[in-house]
Subunit: 113 residues, 2 copies
DNA sequence: TTTATATATTAGATATTTAGAATATTGTAA
DNA sequence: TTACAATATTCTAAATATCTAATATATAAA
């Protein structure tokens, strides 16, 4: 199969989303573009670190930029990114809920005090 | 913000998808459940390694299992997983396409031979 | 019980990712 | 030109993830 390479690229897209700070960046950009400074304040991380994360996201086509004077405005490059994130969040929540349900079931098995 | 923890969990879901072999596993399981042996043949990796990948996916609620005699059948635990994968694949393809388009544009700028 | 088959786990070596520090670049204004 | 603000890059060590090899467990059949 020649699409082993495609799987690799697909994995690197996922890898780009596999970081809490980067997911937070995506959430911040949901409402529209914003300059790096504003992002840095919202995320509470260093400018250098934020810039690194943004570089990874740029390289993988997750965000796009527009410069205006000193500021560089970042935006999500594709609405499908938020859709994918939403779906994964739902998978997570359903998994957590299933775990909680299991825990409750176990609880019910315990002998009365 | 207390949902920093949620971002972490969300990231670990993404991390689970951020591996070419695991994406291939997901693609194999699209058509329905199958035992580990069959998966191992399709993926061309060692049994032990496959089992490790499956363990990661189980822990993150991506797959579920059912034992029947000696065989353990794996299946995707949630149809949203394939939906999310599809969306990310589309993002990837659109990004690749945009890159190719850029390359073509550059090509057009080159002087005639 | 012993044996065989399918699957899971552990340990250790190697590779990849991450954050912080220092430094560089870009654009604007004095 | 120099100075400054916003952003990007490079380097490094620590943390994580991955693979291989060896070993363990579970189920069924003899």
């Amino acid at each position: 199969m020649a699409d082993r390479q495609l799987y690799r690229l697909h994995a690197s897209i996922c890898q780009t989303l596999a970081n809490a700070k980067r997911l937070e960046i995506i959430d911040q950009l949901r409402s529209g573009e914003m300059p790096v400074t504003v992002l840095a304040e919202a995320l509470e991380i260093s400018q250098a670190n934020l810039s690194q994360h943004l570089a990874v996201m740029r390289q993988n086509g997750i965000v796009a930029t527009r410069r205006e004077g000193l500021n560089v405005y970042y935006r999500l490059s594709n609405p499908k990114i938020t859709q994918a994130c939403d779906l994964m969040r739902q998978v997570l929540l359903e998994h957590l809920e299933a775990g909680a349900e299991l825990a409750r079931a176990e609880k019910r098995k315990e002998p009365r005090p």
